[in-house]
Amino acid sequence: MRSRRCCSFTAALTLAAGVAWPQAPAGHVVSVETRPGLKARRGAELEIPLQVAIRSGYHINSNAPAEDYLIPTVLSWTPGPVAAKGVTYPKAESVKYDFSSKPLLVFSGAVPITTRFAVAADAPKGETRLGGKLRYQACTDKMCLAPRTLEVSVPVTIE
């Protein structure tokens, strides 16, 4: 339930061009997909969209929850020659739950998250993988699951 446990639950997800996105393991209520065949030029910028799918009936906190005690959704990327410059989250839904005096800002259903990358002028040509982590904490209106981290690996061809 705490960090060590969360690590044990972490699923390695591989975003491979032309290959069906693997199902989230049993117990995961969030899965991630991206567009296959991503290419970028040296010295250019690249936008990578991720489609986060949340199981029906569940929500995850937005990247900026309305209450300090809530665990935000965070997409982070490993630094490298293709470096993340900014993550754009969609507008959150404002939903009132019985346990909170004010509406909370949450994501549910299909959630598009876009990351802008800068490709270094001397980045090695060929296929590389961008490694990321999506940290989230899911609940229904009746219960919550422990915070979890999905590992994301996006193949990109540098030209």
């Binding site: 705490r2 060590r4 005690y69 809530l70 219960m143």
Partner: protein
């Protein structure tokens, strides 16, 4: 024996009535089927060791919760009330926080919500030993012999839990 059977029957009826309205509940119907609750030894906010066996002879409501768990915040005021109402009859709530942030996170919450019962911070091992607690809140109703009578996953109705406690007291 007769008293135990009656208590079990009352508990079955009380808990069975409310199961569909909230989270899931598992009720061990007969006393002979109840399994002993696993022992734990965890520190409270003052550093004092709290063991589940310290409560043997009492009815215990063991609540796994976290500060980031919204539904848990609905139940906690009920548990504060139960502690006040039934403490003198041999009852105690014990809260097991599953927060990663430790007492720095948990202590302010305990104070803000005026939690009047023992609270400890659980570990992965604690969660595993109680059958792998994956959902919060998860509450265990434990009889005076230290056996698990009922397990509730998710938000449960207040009446359901209170009836279970009263049936065992």
């Amino acid at each position: 024996m007769k008293r135990v059977s009656l208590a079990a029957m009352t508990l079955m009826l009380a808990l069975g009535a409310g199961c569909s309205s909230s989270g899931s509940s598992r009720i061990d119907k007969a006393a002979k089927d109840r399994k002993p609750a696993p022992e734990f030894s965890l520190a409270d906010a003052g550093g004092k060791t709290v063991k589940l066996s310290d409560f043997k002879g009492k009815v215990v409501l063991l609540d796994f919760w976290a500060t980031w768990c919204g539904p848990c915040k609905i139940e906690i005021p009920w548990f504060v009330e139960f502690q006040r109402k039934y403490k003198d009859q041999g009852f105690s709530v014990v809260g097991v926080s599953m927060d990663e942030g430790g007492w720095g996170t948990v202590r302010p919450f305990v104070e803000e919500h005026k939690m009047n019962y023992p609270v400890v911070i659980g570990t992965d091992q604690t969660a595993e030993e109680f059958g792998g607690v994956e959902v919060l809140p998860t509450t265990f109703v434990i009889d005076r012999q230290g056996r698990i009578v009922a397990t509730h996953q998710g938000l449960t109705s207040k009446d359901e839990i209170e009836d279970a406690i009263k049936a065992l007291l």
